[in-house]
Amino acid sequence: MGLLEVRNLTLTLGGSKILNDLTIDFWEGHIHAVVGPNGAGKSTLAATIMGLSGYRDFEGDILLEGQSIKGLTLDERAKKGMTLAWQEPARYEGLTVRDFIKASAKDKSDDAIKEVLSGVGLKDGSYIERAVDRTLSGGERKKVELASILAMQPKLVFLDEPDSGIDVESLERIFEAVKTLKAAGSTVILITHSPTVLEQAEHAFLICCGELVEQGSVEKIDGYFKDRCVPCDHKNRPDRKGGGDV
C-alpha cells in the first residue's frame, strides 16, 4: 500500500480524456519520478491529485494514507501534508521572501528561514528581505519556492520540472534539497522529461496520453523513454498500435 494511491483516475477536459484510468501507488519516503513526453498528462496528474481549480471533476479515487481525499479542497489536502512546486513559480508583488516562506513554515523564526534558503543555495542573508517578484530571476524564485517546501516539511511533495530555468550549478543544489526532503521523511514525486532529473529518483512511472505505459527502476524507464518515446517524437504513445495523436 502506498502513501498515496491513485485509483482508476480519469480526467476529461473539453471532451478529451487527459488522464485515462490511471492507477499508481507512490510509496512512503521514496523519490519517485513521473516521466513522459510533453502533453503526456504529468503536470495534470499532479494538479488533479493536489485539487487545483479546473482539475477537481474526475472519476476514480485518490487515497492518502488509506483515506480518500477526493472531497477535500486544495488547502485541506495541504494541511494533510501534500504540496506542489510549480514549474513556473508565481510572483508576488511586495510579498517578502520571509513572509512567503513563513506562511508554510513549521519553524517561523528568521534563523530557520535563512537555513532553508541556504539549503537551496540562497546563502546571502539579504534574500529574506527581498520581494518574491520580478526582481528575482526565475531560478531564484524556483529556489525560494523549494525553500518554502523545505520549511513546510511535507509528507509528500510534487516537484514539477524542477530543472526548468535552473543553471547546472544550481541544479545540484536542487538535487541536494530533494535528498534533504527524503532524509526528513518526505515522499518526493519528480515530474520531468529530463534524464538528469530522472536519475535522482528511485522508482519511475512512464505515462503517455494520460495512461500508465510502464513503471519500474529508473534504468528501465530511462531506457524505455530513450528507445521508444524519443523516436516517437513525443506525439504518439509508443506501444499503441498504429499510434494516435495526442
Binding site: 481549480s53 488547502d75 511586495g94 517578502t96 513572509d99 519556492e145
Partner: protein, 312 residues
C-alpha cells in the same frame, strides 16, 4: 499629565510611532487635535508658522535655501472628537537645494461624522527634495470623509515623492485630488495605497504635467477593496517636452461585491516624450492563491497575504 499631553499620547498611540520621537531635539514636529496645536518644534532653517482657525489650522512651512533636515519631521493631524470638521490649509515652500522628509500621521480613531479637509500648495524649489508620507489611521465606523487636495510645483532638478497610505480602519469616503507640474529634470513620484472594506468609497484623481525637458513622473495607485466597497481611479499624465518620461500604474484587487474602475489617461504633446500606462483590476491571481493554499493557507488567509504584499 496635562490634558494636552494626554491628547498627544492618545493620537500617537494609534500611529505605531509613539511619542518618544517628539523628545528628540533634532526632530521637528507639529501635532494638531482638531483645531488645537498640541506640539510644535522647529529647527534652524525650518520655519513652521501655525494659526488656529475655527475648524482647523493654517500652516505655512518654509525650508530655507540649502538646508537639509536630517531626521524625518513628524506631523500629526488628528481628531479625537466623534464629530466635526478639521480643515488643514497648508502652504509648503522649499527653497533651492533644500531637503526634507515629512511623515504625517492622520488619526481619526473615534470618527462617527468627521470631515478632514486638506488643502495644500507646495512649491519645491530648484534642486530641492521633498518627501511626504501621509499615513491615515481610521476607526471602525466608516463615519469619516477625507478630502486631500494639493497643487504642487516642482522647479528644475527638484524631486517630490509622496505616498498616501490608508491601511488601518475604515476608509469611509476618500477623495484625493493632486495636481503636479514638473519643470525640467524634476522628478515626481506619487503613490496611493488604500484598503477599502464594507461600504467604503475611494476616489483618486491624480494629475501630472511633465512640462520641462527630461522631467520624469510616476502616478501609482494600489487599491484593495472587498465587501461592497467602491473605487474609482482617474490618473492623468501629460508630457509636453523633449525627453519627458512618465508612467501611470493602477493595480486594484477586488473581492466580494466590491467594484472598481480605473481610467488612466496619458497625453503626449511632444514627439520626443514618452508616457506609458498599466492598469490591472481583478480578483486575486489564481496561481498566487493556489500556491499559498498548497502550503496550507485557506483562501482568505492566502488572499490577505497577497493583498498585504501588494499594499506594502
Amino acid at each position: 499629565m496635562s490634558t494636552k499631553q494626554r491628547e498627544v499620547e492618545t493620537l500617537y498611540s494609534q500611529t505605531g510611532t509613539g511619542t518618544d520621537v517628539l523628545k528628540d531635539p533634532d526632530v521637528a514636529h507639529l501635532t494638531v487635535n482638531h483645531n488645537k496645536v498640541l506640539t510644535s518644534h522647529t529647527l534652524e532653517g525650518l520655519e513652521i508658522d501655525v494659526k488656529e482657525i475655527e475648524d482647523g489650522i493654517d500652516v505655512e512651512l518654509v525650508l530655507r535655501r540649502g538646508v537639509t533636515i536630517d531626521k524625518t519631521v513628524h506631523m500629526c493631524f488628528g481628531m479625537t472628537p466623534r464629530e466635526g470638521i478639521q480643515r488643514i490649509n497648508m502652504k509648503v515652500r522649499l527653497e533651492e537645494n533644500s531637503a526634507i522628509s515629512v511623515l504625517a500621521h492622520c488619526v481619526f480613531p473615534n470618527a462617527v461624522d468627521v470631515e478632514h479637509i486638506m488643502d495644500a500648495e507646495i512649491e519645491v524649489g530648484a534642486g530641492a527634495r521633498y518627501s511626504y508620507l501621509e499615513k491615515h489611521v481610521h476607526g471602525k465606523t466608516g463615519g469619516i470623509k477625507v478630502y486631500p487636495k494639493a497643487k504642487i510645483h516642482l522647479a528644475q532638478k527638484s524631486a517630490f515623492k509622496t505616498e498616501f497610505e490608508l491601511l488601518r480602519g475604515r476608509v469611509g469616503l476618500i477623495d484625493i485630488e493632486y495636481e503636479t507640474t514638473c519643470e525640467a529634470r524634476s522628478v515626481m513620484d506619487v503613490m496611493a495605497r488604500i484598503n477599502g472594506i464594507e461600504t467604503d468609497f475611494i476616489k483618486i484623481n491624480e494629475i501630472g504635467h511633465l512640462v520641462g525637458e527630461h522631467a520624469r513622473g510616476a502616478l501609482t495607485s494600489k487599491i484593495a477593496i472587498s465587501d461592497k466597497a467602491r473605487a474609482e481611479i482617474y490618473n492623468t499624465l501629460t508630457a509636453s517636452a523633449a525627453h519627458a518620461r512618465g508612467h501611470v500604474d493602477c493595480k486594484e484587487i477586488v473581492r466580494g461585491e466590491a467594484t472598481a474602475m480605473a481610467v488612466p489617461t496619458v497625453r503626449v504633446n511632444h514627439p520626443r516624450a514618452h508616457v506609458t500606462h498599466e492598469a490591472a483590476i481583478g480578483s486575486v491571481d489564481t496561481k498566487q492563491l493556489e500556491t499559498l493554499m498548497s502550503r496550507g493557507l485557506d483562501e482568505d488567509e492566502a488572499s490577505d497575504l497577497i493583498i498585504q504584499g501588494m499594499l506594502s
